[in-house]
């Protein structure tokens, strides 16, 4: 395996490995399905978004009756607390310090 690929995989570990079948079928990991609100029977489209990367998108947007707010408040939300608990501090970290002379 190429070194860059090892480095990439180490940097972004995948939670569950699945294999593409002979006819192209793949199993969507339960966690990914829950996070995306995709349920059995939903219709999806697949969109290639880069080399080795395919996006699976539910047709018609969000699942019926599925609310972002409920999901975000649930234990399933992997974003809970990951930005550090101070959103503006997170933004300031990325954008750099606001020059003192122009602070209001």
């Amino acid at each position: 395996m190429a070194r860059w690929r090892e480095m990439l995989n180490a940097a972004t570990p995948r939670t569950q490995l699945t294999k593409v079948s002979r006819n192209g079928t793949v199993v969507l990991a339960a966690r990914a399905r829950r996070a995306a609100g995709i349920q059995p029977g939903d219709e999806v489209v697949t969109i290639p978004v880069g080399p080795g990367v395919v996006l699976v998108e539910r047709v018609g947007g969000g699942a019926s009756g599925w609310k972002w707010r409920e999901f975000l408040d649930s234990d399933e939300n992997p974003l809970r607390g990951i930005y550090g608990g101070d959103p503006q501090a997170y933004v300031d970290e990325l954008r750099g310090p606001w020059p003192e002379s122009t602070r209001s």
Partner: protein
């Protein structure tokens, strides 16, 4: 009929669409921070989810939202991606007009940080109000500061 929240009313008065800076989006997604502030952000985004308001996001904010998830938790990337593709939410592609607007803001020292300027210029280019949690940016470009609506 319940009285409309002042921030929702302010966005409605401006046409119903708004350009959201990164921090309010983080409040919505991360679910941490002062409860009163979270409540204001939730009122706004609940209306977006209902289809009463439309939320546009600068590509810069979208990138900022992805940074931490890419660092720590790949499944979190899919949640941010799904949110940005959700109903009544859209990511604004970069344009030369936004580049000019952002450059003017920095050159004239209205907004010192280029990242802030790109977000503010995106809002101006679209003619939408900017919703932000940054008091300095809100004052500089007359944006809607979520803390003012707590």
């Amino acid at each position: 009929m319940a009285r409309e929240h002042p921030l929702v009313a302010a966005v409605r008065a401006a046409g119903g669409g708004f350009l959201c800076d990164t921090a309010p989006l983080v409040y919505r997604l991360e679910r941490t921070g002062p409860r009163t502030l979270l409540a204001v952000v939730d009122v706004l985004f609940d209306r977006v989810e209902e289809g009463a308001l439309g939320c546009l996001v600068s590509v810069l904010s979208a990138a900022e939202l992805f940074v931490r998830p890419y660092r720590v938790d790949p499944p979190a990337v899919t949640v941010v991606d799904g949110f940005l593709r959700g109903p009544n939410v859209g990511v604004v592609e970069p344009s030369l007009g936004v580049a000019h607007g952002a450059a003017r803001l920095v050159a004239r020292r209205v907004v010192p940080r280029l990242g802030d300027a790109i977000v503010a210029a995106t809002a101006a280019d679209l003619g939408l109000p900017l919703v932000t949690a940054d008091r300095r940016l809100a004052r500089a470009v007359d944006g809607l500061l979520v803390q003012d609506y707590v």
